[in-house]
Symmetry: none
DNA sequence: CCCAACTGTCACAGCGCTGTCACAGGGACG
DNA sequence: CGTCCCTGTGACAGCGCTGTGACAGTTGGG
């Protein structure tokens, strides 16, 4: 279904994932180190990269950053179990998704498909989240067909969230993406804007279904199933 | 279905897209650099150009601008993912659409068809927006059947807006399209022209229904439903 | 159950954005 | 050469967006 590059130093994990992903219909090339991975990336041009965080030599985060300097292809990080710091650092270093080890091939496959779909949807000019429709060309947002009057900042915030549906974005990241600032003190800037956006976008702003809070991290835009 | 010129330096991407587009029924010629692309354009006269932004030598934007100086054929830009600046610059340089990489052949094909359809509609010489009728061949605009006396600049502004109905255009983009300037300081140039155009076009200029303001962005021409 | 950390909420002051307008330069045309 | 109208500019005002900081509410762990 897709052409993947798997970068993972542990041989057992590597071969297991390779077999499983191949069985799911993907074409897979593998590398055991970050250096080899970067070389293979340039030579083979995969559609997507699955990248272990714990690598000998340059680690996964660094590999991720280096890839992002030149390439925009989707990256999924494999990270050791439930390490919140890893998650934040990983997303900030430019990854599209992360998966916690130990991971089953089926689960990874589902994430791969999700990330690829996300990429396709991004290219499209309109996106739907529940009753909300975002028209990126017209720069309008409608709810049940009615125009929502969003302020410029609210709109930018929603656009950035909608470009990464289902992905938690830290206040730090949002600050960079929406406000183009680097540092947020302990002000409630992002929270206040999210509140205003929720007031217009959510059916019940006090129990938001679209813009979810991710405690300790930031916010996430969900499409209700 | 159409005769395409694909300009893309990365050989893997180029051949992949060429195969995919050929399979979709298009006739495709390819070039690896902007120079070759421009030469092929003159020699072969394709219906549409798919143009990568990252090209060695003269980049895609520049190629796009050069093509626009002499030709009006549709151009679709291939741009690196999630780069808003690219999108804006791309449309300003005269592209008709942009597609975000990595891109699937199917998606690109859909965009190609959409742009071609749009082109056909455009070839039609008149467009209607509410009580306003624009006759592109006669270069006249009528309101309820009566001729409107638009000045040259007002007319160009209205024509550019009407080529992209429902799409928000930034002041920056309009400046490029209508005035062929590059930089707008903080002057009220675009606003002033929009105001004058509204005075003639809108039923109630103080609450415009056709030329809508998109706060923080620019303006948009709507067709009242 | 309690505490600490985190998030939601709100009012307000400042200011950024847009609409508006008058005016002067300049080009077109006779 | 004179006239007229188009056009870009800058000033100004009004509106409403936005960031701030204090405080209340909520969550989760010990």
């Amino acid at each position: 279904m897709a052409f993947l590059l798997l970068i993972e130093d542990d041989e057992a994990v590597r071969t297991a994932l390779e077999m499983s992903l191949t069985r799911q219909g993907h074409r897979v090339v593998t590398a055991a180190t970050g250096e080899d991975g970067l070389k293979l990336l340039r030579e083979q041009r995969p559609d997507l990269i699955v990248l272990d965080v714990n690598l000998p030599g340059i680690d996964g985060f660094e590999v991720c950053r280096r890839i992002r300097r030149t390439d925009q292809l989707p990256i999924i990080l494999l990270t050791a179990r439930s390490d919140d710091i890893d998650v934040v650092v990983g997303l900030e270093s430019g990854a599209d998704d992360y998966v916690v080890k130990p991971v089953q091939g089926r689960v990874l496959d589902a994430r791969i498909r999700a990330v690829m779909r996300r990429g396709e949807r991004e290219a499209n000019d309109s996106a739907t989240f529940g009753t909300i429709v975002i028209d990126r060309a017209a720069m309008t947002v409608t709810k049940n067909g009615e125009d929502l009057q969003l302020t410029p900042t609210e709109l930018r915030l929603l656009l950035e969230l909608s470009r990464r549906p289902g992905q938690a974005l830290s206040r730090q990241q949002l600050l960079r993406l929406v406000w183009e600032h680097d540092y947020l003190g302990d002000s409630r800037l992002v929270d206040a804007c999210v509140q205003r956006l929720r007031a217009k976008v959510e059916d019940v702003p006090s129990s938001p279904k679209l813009i979810r809070t991710v405690r300790g991290v930031g916010y996430r835009l969900d499409a209700p199933s």
